[in-house]
Assembly symmetry: C2
Homo-oligomer: 636 residues x 2
């Protein structure tokens, strides 16, 4: 692609504006400790201290630098679509500061520079040293691509060279890897932008080394004299280093780490043609998306370890479903599409983008969920085992990984629309955008218009510089059972999809028109019968949007609402509500409490009363009065 598509979409442009106008400025204030009442970040101050420009102690998490990196990466994507000289100046100054904080040998990490200068590379398992490097590399690549400025890229190449001199198979080098995967995918990006194979090989080294026996983390612990069993059930499943990656068949452990690793594995399988790695990616994809994923594309069923638990264990109220994990799932899905175009990857990517990722932020971009539950009873959040579930979004987190991660995802949303392969353009996502492709050394202009996700009509104009033959493949979403397609007004059969895509291989002429109508009824979704939590329950979904019930619309005790099996599901677009959403209404029944009496248990028939159920998009919940929320509702 010639450049990132220009997103003109109503739905996503609003989010991008929020990120540009609210999230990025707010987070900059937060990183600089200028937000009253919010937990101090100290992240910029740490860099100033490391750069010798301030005195003081390091404060914050060992991975505090990564917040700055993710912010910078979000800024880069935002500048690419919305130039802003003042913001760019702020970023340039920050990059100068990072340059000053870089050590003689290229090393750059404020925690170790300020707090433990003699302990570099001694605790890869816990200390996020390469993780932070990875995020800063991603920022450097994005900033270079957005602005053409090499300074941060050069800084990070120097650091990557430093890392390469320390890690590797050669004698005297550390045969290890980070406890929190991230640098692996970052090095692939660095390789892509620099063309330097050293970075690709270093990424491959980290992936190949992972999980080998004797275990690196054991050896490393022994050197440190640390004899405690690892806190996560004594198992390195936590960091997916329990087995060599090619032998892994089930998603385990910390879900964000898993996503970043699987993304890197997909990258490497694609770049190196490693079939075993590809097979592992597909096996793991199948496990995550068919056994361990919530309907919102939330992942991580367990708070302990922010982790996967086991197949079909998907409790709606105990889940972790971290915003960052769904974001990581998007990263992985995009790379799986490179490896093999298949709508099952794009379906999940779309599910995550419209549900489990953006639910992490309120509509104003001012408050954030770290945990995205599917069922909330605010009172129950006082339980010790549900204390991770916050009933309302929070201002800024102590561990503030999610807000900047979401900012960089939204700011780069255009990257996820298309996949290119030789002279094929795959349209994965439907959103208003203008894109320019290079095909056979010619420009191809594409302009997509749609009111997605509220309406399934998509118009695309295709304008190659001159008439030529190439393929545009359109994804028919998994949720869509009826679609109509026209090219220049002529109906095209869509029976013969290949892996969920309709291939339009033809000679395209300037100003050709594609019209795709995806029928978008409200569906009653059922979960696999092995998901014990959801037996007898249904979730409403329209197009890619998962719906939920909120107390503010339905009054308290949402589980006592029963949706009759054949109740008509009415929809209307409410422009005033939640930034403009389609609302679902249905005549439901509700358990009557008023004449039950005080007995806790009795042999009685339940009585019901009619209730007009109102469902709103899950991603937009908790933007009005706080209260209960429920995705999976009882059905009768």
């Amino acid at each position: 692609m010639a450049s990132q598509p220009k997103v003109t979409d109503t739905f996503w442009r609003r989010y991008m504006d929020v990120v540009r106008d609210e999230v990025i400025p707010y987070q900059w204030e937060a990183l600089n400790d200028r937000v009253e009442g919010a937990a101090k970040s100290h992240a910029i101050e740490n860099i100033r201290i490391a750069a010798g420009l301030a005195e003081g102690e390091f404060h914050g998490f060992v991975f505090q630098d990564s917040d700055v990196a993710k912010w910078l990466e979000a800024v880069a994507y935002s500048l690419a679509t919305d130039p802003n000289p003042e913001l760019e100046k702020t970023a340039d100054e920050l990059i100068d500061l990072l340059g000053n904080a870089q050590q003689e040998d290229g090393y750059l990490n404020t925690y170790f520079t300020v707090k433990e200068p003699n302990s570099r590379w001694t605790n890869l398992r816990d200390q996020h040293e390469l993780y932070c490097a990875g995020h800063m590399i991603e920022a450097a690549v994005a900033y270079y691509e957005a602005t053409g400025k090499r300074k941060l890229l050069d800084i990070m190449c120097r650091f990557a060279d430093c890392i390469d001199s320390v890690f590797g198979e050669e004698d005297g080098k550390i045969k290890g890897y980070d406890g929190h995967q991230e640098i692996e995918l970052a090095l692939v990006k660095l390789y892509e932008v620099t063309g330097n194979e050293k970075y690709l090989n270093l990424s491959k080294f980290f992936i190949d080394e992972r999980g080998k026996q004797p275990h690196f983390f054991d050896k490393e612990s022994e050197v440190r004299g640390d004899t405690k069993p690892f806190w996560y059930f004594g198992s390195y499943k936590y960091s997916q280093s329990h087995l060599p990656v090619r032998e892994q068949q089930e998603a385990v452990g910390h879900s964000v780490r898993a996503m970043y690793m699987y993304a890197a594995m997909a990258d490497l399988a694609f770049k190196t043609g490693d079939d075993k790695l590809k097979t592992a990616c597909k096996t793991l994809w199948d496990n995550v998306t068919n056994k361990q994923m919530y309907i919102t594309a939330g992942i991580g069923s367990s708070e302990f370890g922010e982790a996967f638990s086991f197949d079909y264990d998907l409790p709606n109220d105990l889940c972790y479903t971290e915003t960052c994990a769904s974001i990581g799932l998007v990263f992985w899905a995009k790379r799986m599409l490179n490896l093999e175009v298949n709508s099952s990857y794009a379906d999940v990517m779309e599910r995550a983008l419209y549900n489990g990722t953006i639910s992490g932020m309120d509509l104003d971009g001012k408050k954030f969920f770290y945990v995205n539950p599917l069922e909330v009873w605010p009172e129950a959040c006082s339980r010790h085992d549900k204390r991770h579930v916050k009933p309302v979004r929070q201002m800024w987190f102590n561990c503030a990984c999610c807000p900047p991660n979401l900012a960089r995802l939204i700011a780069s949303i255009g990257h996820y629309i298309y996949t290119e392969r030789n002279d094929e353009i795959f349209v994965n996502l439907y959103m208003g955008n203008e894109a320019i492709f290079d095909i056979k050394d010619k420009k191809v202009y594409m302009n997509q218009k749609t009111e997605y996700p509220w309406d399934g009509t998509v118009s695309m104009s295709v304008s190659p510089e001159e008439s030529m033959k190439f393929t545009i493949a359109l994804r028919i979403p998994g949720w869509c059972r009826n679609a109509q397609l026209k090219v220049n007004g002529e109906k095209v059969a869509i029976e013969n999809t290949v892996n969920g895509y309709v291939y339009l291989k033809r000679t395209w002429n300037p100003d050709d028109q594609i019209e795709l109508i995806l029928e978008m009824p409200v569906d009653r979704i059922k979960a696999h019968p092995s998901v014990r939590e959801n037996v007898g329950k249904t979730a409403l979904q329209m197009g890619p949007i998962v719906y939920c019930l909120e107390e503010v619309d339905n009054s308290p005790n949402l589980p006592n609402i029963f949706l009759p099996k054949h109740a008509r599901l009415e929809t209307h677009f409410d422009n005033e509500l939640l930034g403009g959403v389609v609302v679902i209404k249905a005549e439901a029944n509700r358990l009557k409490e008023s004449d039950w009496g005080s007995a806790l248990y009795k042999a009685a028939d339940e009585k019901y009363y009619p209730h007009t159920l109102t469902a709103v998009p899950y991603y937009a919940w908790c933007n009005r009065e706080p209260g209960e929320m429920l995705v999976w509702m009882n059905e009768k």
Copy 2:
């Protein structure tokens, strides 16, 4: 009552035999560290060390002595009904040993004597010092009543005198109380058996002092220099000392502590006529039994703090529902019946006795549940937040409070059958027994025969020494909607129950016969609509017995079984099964997994297949092959 009724009941006699033949001997071995493979108790060794008869360190919990006390109490009850000279000799020797371990001033606690001799009474909040004393007092009272031997009673009177010299309102005395209530109810027993009002007053002092401000635990912590906030959400709700007891309206905190305290409050309200205390007892009773109790009479919805959570929060899979807590509920109920005869107390007592208490032990008396969940998916017990839920009973616990507590309850089960008040005999429970009452200085012999809980027919013969007028009041259980009553073959109307009891006030002659037939169909029980967990679900109950589904009878994935609303519930008594139980069968429907495919979510109608559901008594679950278990089943 002249003495403890002689229990002849088929159901309970089997349990009493198990306690006598298995539990008591096994626990003695365990207390003496002679059980291979079990966690070392060290409890007897601690006493030997304290007595100067052995050298070594104290080992175990600070409350290790209480295991010995509870064992001794169980022995006493067992000896009362089943004399056993050898066991009595063992007990006498243990009592001699305890005498040797008692200090000059009467003090008796092996932890402090051996490990922290200079720290007596410095950390009442955490160290269970008075708690252990309480249990030993209960043992002493029971042993005296069973054997007539005063030695342990005298030992414990001396210790109680020592405690009385240390605690009280007078200057120089500690104005405090124990973090774990227990001594309060024990001192009432000591008062009852000795007639010494000092013990009643000391109990009242502890109850009255609790929760006063400035808070004793704060003052005590300050003296120790302990400035950490209390670990339980920083709240003394944990030990029900957050408010003066008369102001408490909701059950909070550690549920066993709560039960022991409420039991003592009921005792004191009864003995002292304190109306405010009585009102508090009734308010708390209403809260516990109508808002915070499982259908099994399990209590404690939260593992953290082994505690109550809040009204209607009754998760079936996350609950704590400790065996000891249900036992405590029985203690409290019995005392509420003294305070005010009302079948609502006896109903709960019965519910606890036939469900949530005895579920804590396998049928052989060899393995024990500490936590009694209402829904078990064994795989899910690997989750960190469900690790307290064991899918199978354990041999002996590190913290072994439940097994000896259950032993003492079962061995004294006869104590719970009747409540006496002047010339009134209240029959609370139906179980085969022979009892002798003193009424107007004459003996009244009662002989109850029944196959309860499997059949609701109860025959009672009443034989006063000579004809006289008095009242026998029979409880009509809350679960019974049709009962028939005959006295000497003549039908007696039972419309006019008073607080759930039919009062038979008449002249009773030798060998009068009462026949009570309690209709005992299988009921589909519903939970209050505010119990979100159980909406759309039903539990089966026959008489006092709550039923459950087990994997061994129904194959895996129990939540996918739907009991049709009008399915016939067939019962049959299976003499071979689980020691002889009534089994419930019904034609149910089950979600079909086989043709669902691999998709985790889809817009599809569920398919069902017929399944003959088998339900067995909850208390007897996990006595065959381990697996899933479910009380609240889906209904359609």
